[in-house]
Point group: C2
Amino acid sequence: MLKAVEQCMLTWIKELQNDELYELFTHLPHGKRLRAKLVLKIAGESPQSVKLAAVIELIHAASLLHDDVIDEALTRRGVTSVNASDGSKVAVMMGDVLYSKAFTELVAFDDKIASSVASAVTILSIGEYMDVKMGESFNENEEAYLDMIYKKTASLIEVTSYCAALLVGKNEDDYKLYGKNLGLAFQIIDDILDIVSDDETLGKPALNDYKEGKTTLPYMYLYEALEDKDKKRLKQAHLQDLDSNESSWIKLQMKEHQSVERSYALARTLSDEAIKAVSQHDEKELVLILEDMMQREF
Amino acid sequence: MLKAVEQCMLTWIKELQNDELYELFTHLPHGKRLRAKLVLKIAGESPQSVKLAAVIELIHAASLLHDDVIDEALTRRGVTSVNASDGSKVAVMMGDVLYSKAFTELVAFDDKIASSVASAVTILSIGEYMDVKMGESFNENEEAYLDMIYKKTASLIEVTSYCAALLVGKNEDDYKLYGKNLGLAFQIIDDILDIVSDDETLGKPALNDYKEGKTTLPYMYLYEALEDKDKKRLKQAHLQDLDSNESSWIKLQMKEHQSVERSYALARTLSDEAIKAVSQHDEKELVLILEDMMQREF
């Protein structure tokens, strides 16, 4: 049924009657289509659910295009990013095209769905803005970090579950909570993978986040645990190209202070809360999605 | 009543609860608010018309932010552009925030209005994409150029008039045609001003378009009129930093071959068609808007 979602997106992009854009779109890396899967698992398979899934995936694709421009990322899921292959101009415009096409199709849904998805996109954009701003200096504030990843990542996953539930008259608040916690856990796992994976699995250099300025949870937890002298050393490495000596030191310290484990534990707590939120709805597949996500390696 | 539109936008941006974004927004140059004026003149002054005007102006502001990133413009209306002052990352994200907030508010309008505005944004984004692509080489194709400026500039002005008419039950097709022709003429005048204005009036260096790759109508008409040897010279200047010698030569040739006058004549024809489109509706103010636009100097 994911195929129907892909087909729906291709049909919509074809409607734009611009061959180059269509070509570019077909070459975007697909990723896991987590959001489309969520819609189909929650709302079942119907013309409406396929369209909702396609709208959300277009929005997600647009946000990644702009995100890569912002991060100056050269690759996305191991593939050259659009901003690297075709320039950031094309990536910005292509993102705008996908966003606006998604909004055009969104209008056909009822107001509650349309306005909540549109609001989520605003929150998502603010989240990406906060991500950029927070990356300018070392961040010790866990609450601020969680607020930022809620906005940047969880808000769209939250609204995906919420709207899928609305489509079929399920209890939307339970599914909203599921989506929110899934989204938060997802981002924390993503942040962990940047530290524990090797470059090849990740499709980008490991420890890249910290170099880009992102003080993710494991760095924050490590900082808390370190002596003053080492706190200083960790801070000095922020936003720097790390040599293998410094990378090894960070990884060793994280091992010693169990910074990754502590981050993983928070993701686990959030994941458990997500499962609990839908526990009375017998949603085995949603539990599976969570477990897959928690155990993914890229 | 434009004040009510400004206030509405400020209230919406305030709702996003991000002080930095609010601050940035208040410093964006206002411009002429042509689109807001159009809504208010066509639909009169009501809470709905103010909101529609605010939605359209937010969309326009978002498109300018992204447009400046694309064009690597250092100034906008004589003021430092956001991408120049705060970086293109901030400009991209700020644009996304304004677009999505506009879409969020747009959902409250009826489907016909919401979907036509959303479609226009897609067309606008494709137009900006085409503008970038066409700028990579000298363009001789007038039809392709007019199609691009329809998409990039006229589509949003067209939908502005169309939706304003819908709001108050006026004949939407007449107003749509008015808006389309106003938009096309507006862009042609803009292109002319890049050639005939001095740097100070324009707020950016004159003959900047050609340096950026934009073969606007006067260049196209000049090319048509030139001898082969001079055709080659004009083509060679495309995408180049022009010294005063080359700039003067281009301006002199344009004078000799009346390239600007020919472009202005097309704008005049379009403007006349716009007036004709609403001639039976006794819209003196819309005629005034057109006349002001045709005679503007920046």
